[in-house]
């Protein structure tokens, strides 16, 4: 078979050159045929009756989705070329937008004549197709070996199309959008609060964690006890740690009322930020130790041989060489903090967790999603940007 493939370097073959795309298309088809695309429930509390894609969305959307699937399938069988990968990325990006638009369209169609309390939520079929389209986009971007800038452009185009459709009211009939509408005034503040909680904890965690990691590196006997303590902190369940901080902080603000004037108290953002800093210390110290400790002794010897001082060796050799590992640590910590900050809503810190816990209390899945989806999106965005940063830095130092 390899011979056949070599004999026809530019033509199509009977076996896929890229197995990922055909598999994703197959999974998407199974998802659409086997699961409801949206769910129609008489009210917000009960589970919905699944409605299949072809019974819900307009024919135009189904036609475009079918065309996208067929194109991606064909791309999987064609000879790999960079231009083709770009084309596949465009098709996958289109599929993402169209499947989201189709869900909005389906909800609009089903909501006609339904009682006002009826809710239309996103079904398993929708999530499967969306995931497949997203994975196809990632696969295509990897194969195209696209530069960071073009990846950013793709992400911006997809996000921009989503915002434009949302502005046009494409999703208004979806239950998720209705949860958003009733909380429109507090939503932006909740997202901002979430970002502030994460930023306010990652900054101090770096200032504390990096010196701790360096200390463990320079003084070997300090390493074992330090990581024993940090490991122990990491095993405390987040809700317990948040709760444990309330009592000492309340006592502190009672003893020093000036702190309360600054908005520091046992309940609210303060214990949340302290807990997030504590959780961030282990990954940061660990990655500092691994990153700086992993710099090849030969590089350091060479730098010393060139007459560099200890400080110069650290800033001009060790830090640059360790940067990818250090940024990986920062990435882990930030993504972890975005997730943990959700739980902080239980101690009055606000943020996206307030939607999640309201939704859990009311058994309203779409309200849970209203808190969870932006948190996931934030985590993906941070992960993406820090990966780009790490790649750009390692290229710069490699050059």
């Amino acid at each position: 078979m390899n011979v056949a493939a070599r004999a026809l370097p530019t033509g199509a073959t009977s076996i896929p050159r890229n197995i990922v795309l055909p598999l994703l298309v197959a999974a998407a088809v199974i998802g659409v045929v086997g699961c409801g695309f949206v769910g129609l429930a008489p009210n917000r509390l009960v589970s919905g009756r699944p409605v299949m894609l072809w019974n819900a969305a307009g024919a135009g959307f189904i036609a475009v989705l079918t065309a996208c699937a067929a194109t991606l399938l064909a791309v999987g069988f064609a000879a790999p070329r960079r231009a083709l990968a770009y084309f596949a990325a465009a098709v996958a990006g289109t599929a993402i937008i169209i499947v989201i638009a189709a869900a909005g369209d389906a909800a609009a169609i089903l909501s006609v004549g339904a009682p006002p309390a009826a809710r239309i939520s996103l079904g398993a079929g929708f999530w499967i197709v969306l995931s497949c389209a997203g994975l196809a986009l990632i696969d295509a971007l990897q194969r195209s070996d696209a530069a960071a800038v073009s990846r950013l452009i793709v992400a911006a185009v997809v996000a921009g199309a989503f915002v434009a459709l949302a502005r046009a009211g494409m999703f208004d009939a979806l239950s998720l959008a209705r949860e958003y509408t009733t909380r429109r005034e507090v939503f932006a503040a909740a997202v901002l609060r979430h970002v502030v909680l994460v930023a306010a904890s990652v900054g101090p965690a770096l200032l504390i964690g990096v010196p701790l990691g360096l200390a463990a590196l320079r003084r070997q006997r300090f390493e074992a006890p330090l990581f024993a303590v940090l490991n122990l902190l990491q095993t405390v369940p987040s809700i317990a740690l948040f709760g444990l901080l309330i009592v000492p902080l309340s006592a502190l603000t009672k003893a020093m009322p000036a702190l309360a004037e600054l908005g520091i108290g046992g309940v609210g953002p303060t214990p949340a930020i302290i807990a997030l800093v504590l959780y961030a210390l282990l990954p940061i110290a660990r990655n500092t130790l691994a990153g700086i400790g992993g710099v090849s002794p030969a590089a350091i010897d060479a730098a010393r041989g060139m007459g560099m001082t200890g400080r110069q060796v650290f800033w001009q050799v060790e830090v640059p060489l360790a940067l990818p590992v250090l940024i990986a640590g920062l990435r882990i910590v930030t993504v972890q903090a975005i997730g943990l900050a959700v739980v902080a809503a239980l101690i009055g810190a606000g943020g996206l967790g307030s939607f999640v816990f309201d939704g859990l209390g009311q058994y309203a899945t779409d309200l849970v999603l209203l808190g969870a989806l932006p948190a996931i999106f934030l985590a993906l965005a941070v992960d993406f940007l820090l990966r780009l940063l790490a790649a750009a830095l390692s290229r710069r130092y490699a050059a």
Binding site: N43, L45, G243, A260, S354, L367
Partner: protein
């Protein structure tokens, strides 16, 4: 700046627990205080009971709605029979909190958010307004029954065992579907959708979803349960600075019967409306003058 003048400018911090009725009552309290002209800072949905209570005791919060029956928990007096009586329970918790914590309990709503058993309306052999006694008779006649409830409800002596001994029935292990959390949205949904053969659910008296899901709450005519009447609890020093708040809140809470609370909670939990607009709307349309 003297402490008095600073406190007079400071907004009144209104908090609530992180649940539907907490948000509703917290927003009502905030809206009523705003109408008296005092500035308000909202910390609605601050956290579960222990967190909000700790914030009130430490002075980070000035007022929040609490249930009279929780006095048993706060003062470790679970065995006191006073909690099963609306007036005695209120008097006891108000006296204890005034004396030990300098907190004032304002007038409670004439409603009881205690544990109830809600059955499917299509269950045969029950009168139009069923009570727990009718359930005992139904079980004696061998009626099929399966209750979704939290572990706490099943095990705590003040909950299901109190029903069982007062009305003379016993639920066996396979007549119970025990869930770990106390989330009544989950138990009510199980009964409404007959998940795992469930046809009854643990609920709270003022749950908005009971009627919306085609269920009926069994009345507790023998008063087997602790009374949980919601009332605003305020730091006495704050009430002294803003004395008009007391009568204003009393007038509004006096109108909050069980049926009204169920309807208002349903607008939030079932229709998905925002607690703040439901509260504002109630003050406007119900012609309640705070």
């Amino acid at each position: 700046m003297s402490p008095q003048s600073r406190a007079a400018e400071a907004p009144i911090v209104v908090a609530s627990k992180i649940d539907t009725e907490g948000s509703l009552l917290g927003e009502l309290i905030a809206a009523v205080i705003e109408r008296t002209g005092a500035p308000v800072e909202r910390r609605i949905g601050l956290g579960p009971t222990n967190i909000v209570r700790a914030a009130l005791l430490s002075g980070q919060v000035d007022i929040y709605p609490e249930y009279t029956g929780n006095g048993a928990l706060f003062f470790h007096r679970e065995a006191d029979p006073a909690w099963k009586d609306a007036t005695k329970g209120y008097d006891l918790v108000a006296a204890l909190d005034k004396q030990q914590n300098d907190l004032a309990w304002l007038t409670p709503a004439p409603a009881d958010n205690t544990w109830v058993i809600a059955i499917r309306k299509d269950l045969k052999g029950f009168p139009p307004r069923p009570c727990v006694g009718d359930l005992a008779a139904y079980l004696k006649n061998g009626g099929r029954f399966r209750l979704a409830a939290s572990a706490e409800f099943v095990e705590s002596s003040a909950a299901l065992p109190a029903f069982e001994s007062a009305y003379g029935f016993h639920l066996s292990g396979d007549q119970l579907l025990t869930l770990s959390g106390g989330n009544t949205a989950a138990t009510l949904r199980a009964a409404a959708e007959q998940i795992s053969g469930v046809n009854a659910a643990m609920a709270y008296g003022t749950d908005g979803a009971i009627a919306a899901l085609g269920l009926a709450a069994l009345c507790d005519d023998k008063h087997a349960q602790v009374v949980y009447a919601p009332a605003p609890v305020i730091r006495a020093s704050v009430l002294d600075q803003h004395p008009v708040i007391g009568p204003a809140l009393d007038r509004v809470f006096a109108t909050l019967t069980r049926e009204k609370l169920q309807a208002l909670n349903a607008r939030i939990a079932v229709d998905g409306e925002d607690a703040r607009s439901v509260a504002e709307d109630y003050l406007k349309t119900a012609q309640v003058q705070p």
